[in-house]
């Protein structure tokens, strides 16, 4: 065609087509999204520390392995109570003159999603140890060790936050002390929570897994065929470890623990549901059961796994027993 023998026509036409498509698939949707979007009423603004922590999160490229989006599909349910919505990201504005907005949705989930990590793993002690070297608490982790966010001091002062690191992870004598940056990064991670939707409705998850109704297991009053060790791995193992021995100075052992072995499971259940912070020498335990919305069947499976593993041999609890106790516990105030 003669029209395209003129370079101005040819490249003008190509540019115009590309520009029009760009406007319609990128610019207009982006601007629209910005206009019709606002943070949820209950959403907490980031504290100064958390803000600084977010900058550290961005600087170290954490988004390369960690997403911050709960997709509206069933398999993402474990990362949050509800699917992420546009409003969750509305607070993100341009960082500063030099740097763009950091929405940090991510495209790669080499490590876990962090949308609600503040709820799932709020323990400061755990996060600090994990940052110093993830393999202290999660043996198989391949996350980099951020030990440069810590310093070793012979005699830490009273204000210093000392991290209890096992000896084999130390290069030199002394106590490991978290720097300001480490604490800010943890503050950011702790701030990552999902805001409740105002009317209390939860979002819909698509592609639900078909739950086969097995009459045998629903009638039988045991753990409903759930895999206790898998649930333990998801919810408990990061602190209490696979061998149930915990970590000295950070997380108590479950192996041989009087609470776990107790004939009466009430205290154990209360701790799982509401968390625990009664012992100075150990870190704070979050309200794992409540945060993850665990069902009585799942709790029973976890409890029975803990009560019968690593040499523990307490009696198994039944689902109905757990159900009854849970109703009673719900009357109690939160930890």
């Amino acid at each position: 065609m003669d029209f395209f023998d003129n370079h101005k026509n040819l490249f003008g036409a190509a540019f115009l087509l590309f520009l029009i498509l760009t406007v319609f698939v990128a610019l207009i949707p982006a601007v629209n999204n910005d206009k019709n979007n606002a943070p949820l009423p209950g959403q907490q603004a980031l504290s100064d520390d958390a803000m600084a922590g977010k900058a550290i999160f961005v600087a170290n490229g954490c988004v390369a392995c960690h997403t911050q989006q709960v997709r509206n599909v069933d398999m993402d349910k474990k990362w949050g109570k509800r699917p992420s919505i546009a409003a969750d990201y509305a607070v993100n504005k341009r960082t500063d003159l030099w740097r763009n907005t950091a929405t940090l949705m991510g495209t790669e989930r080499t490590g876990p999603d962090l949308t609600a990590v503040g709820t799932r793993q709020p323990s400061k002690e755990w996060n600090l140890v994990h940052l110093f070297n993830p393999r202290i608490v999660v043996k198989e982790s391949i996350m980099p060790a951020y030990s440069w966010l810590f310093e070793t001091k012979k005699e830490p002062s009273k204000q210093d936050v000392v991290v209890s690191v096992p000896a084999q992870y130390l290069d030199q004598e002394g106590s490991v002390v978290a720097t300001k940056e480490a604490l800010q990064l943890v503050a950011y991670l702790q701030s990552l929570v999902q805001t409740e939707l105002p009317d209390g409705v939860a979002g819909r998850f698509l592609y639900k897994k078909e739950v086969k109704n097995n009459p045998e297991s629903s009638n039988a009053d045991n753990d409903a065929g759930l895999d206790g060790s898998a649930l333990y791995a998801t919810h408990c193992q990061a602190c209490h470890q696979q061998n149930g021995e915990g970590l000295k100075g950070a997380f108590p052992p479950l192996k041989g623990s009087p609470v776990v072995l107790n004939e009466n499971p009430e205290l154990m259940l209360t701790i799982i549901m509401n968390g625990y912070d009664a012992r100075e020498e150990f870190g704070v335990m979050p309200a794992v059961g409540k945060n993850a919305g665990l069902k009585p069947e799942e709790i029973a499976a976890i409890m029975n796994h803990e009560r019968t593993s690593w040499g523990n041999s307490a009696r198994k609890v039944s689902v109905s027993e757990v159900k009854k106790l849970m109703e009673a516990i719900q009357q109690l105030p939160n930890q």
């Binding site: 395209f4 023998d5 370079h7 490249f11 190509a14 540019f15 590309f18 498509l21 760009t22 698939v25 990128a26 610019l27 949707p29 982006a30 601007v31 999204n33 910005d34 979007n37 170290n60 490229g61 390369a64 392995c65 509206n72 398999m75 993402d76 474990k78 546009a86 969750d88 990201y89 509305a90 993100n92 504005k93 341009r94 030099w98 740097r99 763009n100 907005t101 950091a102 929405t103 495209t107 790669e108 989930r109 080499t110 876990p112 070297n133 993830p134 393999r135 198989e140 982790s141 391949i142 996350m143 980099p144 951020y146 030990s147 440069w148 592609y207 897994k209 791995a233 998801t234 193992q237």
Partner: protein
């Protein structure tokens, strides 16, 4: 014969059956079937051996019976037919000499051997009776197979031993008969026979002179069609490839510029993939260092940006500086602009790398990690090039604009557009950032790298095949459909996210539409190859082109397959995406760019790369890429399934470990291939320094001529 054909067929059927069975039933049944198939195969082959032996034995017995009978003269007459000239000569000489020959007696046959053989036969006849216990335990299966292999091997060895024993025995029989014949020949007296044989010998001795048609004059190559005649032919260790054809010298200014582009690009390739190799190793050895500047999160964008903007972009631009003026049939508008552009882009990658390693990045969007002052340098570089190319095309002496320039110039325009859209802040609050991110990163890949590279292929592929592109129209169809569909597919990286549902759907539809330009482009390239496939054998550039075309088709269509909602469930967030981006950015872009560099550089410098190391580069890159991507895709698929089943997350991390190891192995091979590439570039840039005797001799002659 029949049974021989049946074996592989039934084997195939069993294999297919096995596959079906493995899917439907637990492993045990599958392994039992495997054992059964294996055992029946062994039994069948042993049966065939026995059958063959029986036939042979029967023949021997017959022969033995014949040998016992006394030979009569008429029995030997058949041997006098069809004698060769030499045999007749010997016979006649013997008759003339009348010398006597004394036959030496030899023991006829070694009965013992046969008995020994028979004993062996009977012993192996028991072998098939070995019953196979059909136990499902892996250990037992392995043991049985381990025992079975040497036993079967032994049986076959025995079979061949028996065969050779039989052969030896038969030869002994033949020997004795031959001696009898010789004795007969010595004795026979017949004038007529001798006369006949003499005549026969002259007939047989007749020969053509071989120049009945050509005459006796030497052939002459008046037009100099014969070239590169190799006189000392030897066995070649690697395939012999043709040297590139000499071309009229390119403007030396432009040559220097292009060589610098390619040289810088090669540096960034080696640098970027060294970083990539290191972060690949970090998946296997996360505690290899604890230095902030070398931590995974910081190095990952260093790797991607260095190979994107440093390696691929500079290499493409360098090639573009050759193609654009060449197909416009004019000189480049300004080499100076080319130099500025080179400096700006190099500066961008250098400062960008430093920034990223020191922890300064733009906010985590992929390939958008350079902060705007750094990316501005890159943008200026592109803008200068665009101006330069447009001015060159404006002064072209051809009427049409060749399709290469469509692709190349359009890709630069789009490259600048997406950079501007991605770095302006006005539409990037909240989710706007993510929408722009999806648009930007995918347009970067498809509208900048892919379009530019296609432009390069549209020039160099026909040139290397020495024939025009198959269809100009298909190229144009691919051009417009690529713009139409590719522009819309960005958000398929955020399917199921909080981005508007309709936008996700548009992206998925656009991804399907991409089938049109991809199939059009692939068809066009392959049809250009048609009738010239034989050229691949002796070309060192065409294998790169062909690999690029294959990955262009498979890699791009894989992108379409990944975009669907159902596949997103399975593959999104896993390393499948990483495998895909390497299949495409490496398999397509790098292979095409390498092909073009190997096609161009010998023409610019007049120096051939060592063909052996080009081959090493090709094979290491290809095998490395396959080692990298296939295990990663396999592992990621299963990881996705584990996530869908709700397995604990850490289990899926543990599960991936072997696949990450494979990735590191494949990555190492790829990295090694880049060292070979760098070496080849060096060899093409720098003459060896060794004095060429012939060339120097002629230079001396020329020098003397000018003196006299």
């Amino acid at each position: 014969m029949n049974s021989k054909i049946k074996i592989p067929k039934s084997g195939l059927l069993t294999a297919a059956g096995l596959l079906l069975v493995t899917e439907a039933y637990p492993q045990q049944i599958a392994s039992e079937k495997l054992i059964l198939g294996f055992a029946s195969l062994v039994v069948l082959s042993i049966a065939i051996c026995v059958l063959l032996l029986a036939v042979l034995t029967k023949q021997i017995v017959k022969q033995f019976g014949k040998a016992q009978k006394q030979k009569e003269p008429k029995d030997f007459l058949i041997y006098l037919d069809n004698l060769t000239s030499d045999q007749i000569g010997l016979f006649l000489k013997n008759k003339e000499n009348k010398k006597s020959l004394v036959p030496t007696d030899k023991t006829l046959l070694n009965i013992l051997l046969l008995i020994f053989c028979l004993q062996q036969t009977s012993s192996f006849a028991q072998a098939p009776a070995r019953s196979v216990p059909l136990l499902g335990h892996t250990g037992i299966i392995i043991t049985i197979i381990l025992i079975g292999i040497p036993v079967t091997g032994g049986i076959f060895l025995l079979f061949f031993k028996i065969l050779s024993a039989i052969k030896r025995y038969r030869n002994m029989q033949h020997m004795s008969e031959a001696q009898q014949l010789a004795a007969y020949l010595k004795k026979v007296e017949s004038e007529a026979l001798e006369r006949d044989l003499k005549r026969r010998k002259t007939q047989l001795d007749f020969q053509l002179t071989n120049n009945e048609l050509a005459g006796s004059r030497l052939a002459e190559d008046e037009r100099g069609l014969l070239n590169n005649v190799v006189h000392e032919a030897a066995l070649t260790f690697v395939a012999r490839k043709k040297n590139s054809q000499l071309r009229p010298k390119v403007d030396s200014e432009l040559t220097r510029l292009i060589l610098w582009y390619i040289g810088c690009a090669t540096f960034w390739l080696v640098f970027g993939t060294t970083v990539g190799e290191y972060i690949g190793i970090k998946f296997v050895a996360p505690d290899s260092d604890h230095i902030s500047w070398l931590s995974f999160g910081r190095l990952r964008p260093v790797h991607t940006n260095a190979v994107f903007w440093g390696w691929a972009s500079l290499a493409m631009l360098g090639l573009g500086h050759y193609v654009v003026p060449r197909v416009s049939n004019v000189k480049l508008f300004s080499t100076n602009l080319g130099w500025y552009s080179l400096i700006f882009i190099n500066a961008a990658v250098f400062f960008g790398t430093i920034c990223l390693m020191s922890g300064i990045n733009n906010g985590g969007g992929e390939y958008r990690e350079y902060i705007w002052p750094v990316m501005l340098l890159f943008g200026i570089g592109l803008a200068l090039t665009l101006y330069n190319f447009l001015k060159t095309i404006a002064s072209r002496t051809t009427k049409e604009i060749y399709i290469s320039n469509w692709y190349i110039v359009a890709s630069i325009i789009f490259g600048i557009t997406i950079t501007v859209v991605a770095y302006l802040p006005f539409w990037q609050n909240g989710l706007g950032e993510t929408i722009i991110q999806g648009y930007y990163m995918h347009q970067g890949v498809g509208m900048w790298f892919m379009l530019f590279t296609l432009g390069i292929v549209y020039y160099f592929l026909p040139q290397q095949l020495n024939k025009p592109i198959y269809s100009y129209s298909l190229g144009i169809l691919a051009f417009w459909t690529q713009i139409l569909f590719y522009t819309t597919i960005g958000t398929h990286h955020f399917v199921f996210s909080s981005i508007p549902w309709w936008l996700q759907t548009v992206a998925i539809v656009g991804s399907v539409g991409m089938v049109i330009p991809v199939v059009a482009g692939t068809t066009n390239f392959l049809m250009t190859f048609k009738g010239a496939w034989f050229k691949i054998n002796d070309s060192y550039t065409l294998p790169f082109f062909l690999t690029g075309i294959v990955f262009y088709f498979t890699g791009s269509l894989q992108g379409t397959a990944e975009a669907f909602r159902s596949t997103n469930l399975l593959w999104h967030f896993t390393d499948f995406t990483v495998a895909h981006s390497h299949l495409t950015m490496y398999g397509i872009i790098c292979f095409f760019v390498w092909a073009a560099i190997y096609a161009l550089l010998p023409r610019l410098t007049g120096i051939e790369p060592p063909h052996t190391t080009v081959g090493a580069h090709f094979w290491l890159a290809l095998i490395g890429l396959l080692f990298y991507t296939i295990p990663l895709m396999y592992g990621s698929t299963l990881r996705g399934l584990m996530w869908m089943e709700g397995k604990p997350f850490i289990d899926s991390v543990i599960f991936m470990a072997p696949f990450w190891l494979w990735r590191a192995i494949g990555g190492s091979l790829m990295w090694l291939s880049h060292l070979f590439f760098a070496y080849n570039i060096y060899k093409m840039l720098v003459s060896s320094g060794v004095i060429d005797i012939r060339q120097t001799a002629f230079e001396v002659l020329a020098h003397e001529d000018t003196i006299h």
